[in-house]
């Protein structure tokens, strides 16, 4: 089997815009699932509503396309009803942080054995580019035409504080690292949260000085800093530039988990 066998060939090409990072994250997730050696009958992909949540529709396993923000609630139900299943949740930033925020923190608290891949494109892409809770300070969108005046949500910090077992953040440029992080998340018992920043050329990039798809990828490349390096810089008393994105593994621990196979 290869990653190609996990895709529904008859549904491709998918509906994502040219250059959308969601397809990259699907590749990375399927590669990690493939390396885990899971069977198709025992794997379930769950998603909510949004651009990112179209992803399970292109994967040839059982999948659940649920109501807005409730992907984690449905996934909890599946896991508790049948702990034999391996569950991966695809979710967007609007889905997870805005409408499903409460489900998110309680899933972290219960530490259910799920892997959540959050495709954070920093905007509500599907509905026309409204500002989301993760739109960075000063980011332009249709509802923040003079630049977002609110600080953005740090989803990894939220998951760490709420008690997730594994938390990591990468971007769609770091494909190898992202695959490895998702693989670690799948192996780890308990709630694993992998946030991936993805480019949205149609609704975010074009309003925020990223005229080409490659511009935003170059931005991810030049504006990420490893968590370990940031910690070293803080020790030395150096300033970390405020627009830097922290990337890497935030936490890996062994809190008691719910729904783990006996």
């Amino acid at each position: 089997m290869s990653e190609e066998d996990w895709l529904r060939q008859d549904r491709l090409p998918h509906i994502f815009c040219a250059g959308c990072g969601n397809g990259t994250v699907i590749n990375c997730t399927l590669s990690a699932v493939e390396q885990m050696g899971w069977k198709r009958q025992e794997t379930v992909f769950v998603s909510g509503i949004g651009c990112s949540s179209r992803a399970p529709g292109y994967i040839s396993t059982d999948s659940l396309h649920t109501t807005h923000g409730r992907a984690l609630a449905f996934a909890t139900g599946i896991k508790l009803a049948n702990p034999q299943l391996n569950i991966v949740v695809f979710t967007g930033d609007g889905d997870l942080a805005a409408i499903g925020g409460n489900h998110f923190i309680h899933a972290c608290r219960r530490n259910i054995d799920l892997t959540v891949v959050c495709l954070n494109n920093m905007i509500y892409g599907m509905t026309g580019g409204q500002g989301s809770p993760t739109t960075p300070m000063g980011g332009l969108s249709t509802t923040t035409p003079y630049g977002s005046g609110e600080p953005a949500f740090d989803l990894c910090g939220l998951a760490t504080a709420a008690g997730a077992n594994y938390v990591a953040r990468w971007t769609s440029y770091h494909v190898r690292e992202l695959t490895r992080a998702i693989l670690t998340g799948l192996e780890n018992p308990g709630f694993s949260f992998v946030e991936s920043l993805v480019q949205c050329p149609t609704n975010y990039g074009r309003r925020n000085r990223f005229k080409q798809v490659a511009d935003q990828i170059e931005y991810f490349k030049s504006h990420t800093i490893l968590v370990e390096k940031a910690a070293r810089m803080r020790e030395k008393g150096e300033m970390i530039p405020p627009d830097m994105i922290l990337a890497g593994e935030f936490v890996r621990r062994n809190r008691p988990a719910l729904g783990v196979r006996p």
């Binding site: 190609e4 895709l7 491709l12 090409p13 998918h14 994502f16 815009c17 040219a18 250059g19 959308c20 990072g21 969601n22 397809g23 990259t24 699907i26 590749n27 990375c28 590669s31 769609s172 440029y173 494909v175 190898r176 695959t179 050329p201 080409q212 798809v213 490659a214 990828i217 170059e218």
Partner: protein, 90 residues
């Protein structure tokens, strides 16, 4: 092994031109029947995965395939592989 781009899936975002360490992918010049400018391959036999996959028994590099959002890049097995001298410039 031979590198190939599936023209039915490619949407012409040119992300592959950004990541290839050998710069095998070049931005295309002509639009195809669907109006999409598919990248062109410049001496694809230089690709590390094409040359060394059978030697190592695993996928080498493969970044273009991973980053392609449209799952359009893949490798095909040659029917009758002809040994060829490949010049690699760094």
């Amino acid at each position: 092994m031979r590198l190939q781009i599936d023209e039915r899936r490619c949407k012409g975002c040119n992300l592959c031109t950004l990541v290839c360490p050998y710069r095998i992918f070049k931005p295309g010049k002509r639009a195809n029947r669907r109006g999409i400018v598919v990248p062109e391959l410049d001496r694809p036999e230089r690709c590390a995965n094409c040359r060394l996959r059978h030697l190592y028994g695993r996928t080498l590099c493969g970044t273009c395939q991973m980053i392609c959002p449209d799952q359009a890049i893949s490798w095909k097995e040659d029917e009758d592989p002809v040994p060829k001298k490949v010049a690699i410039e760094y």
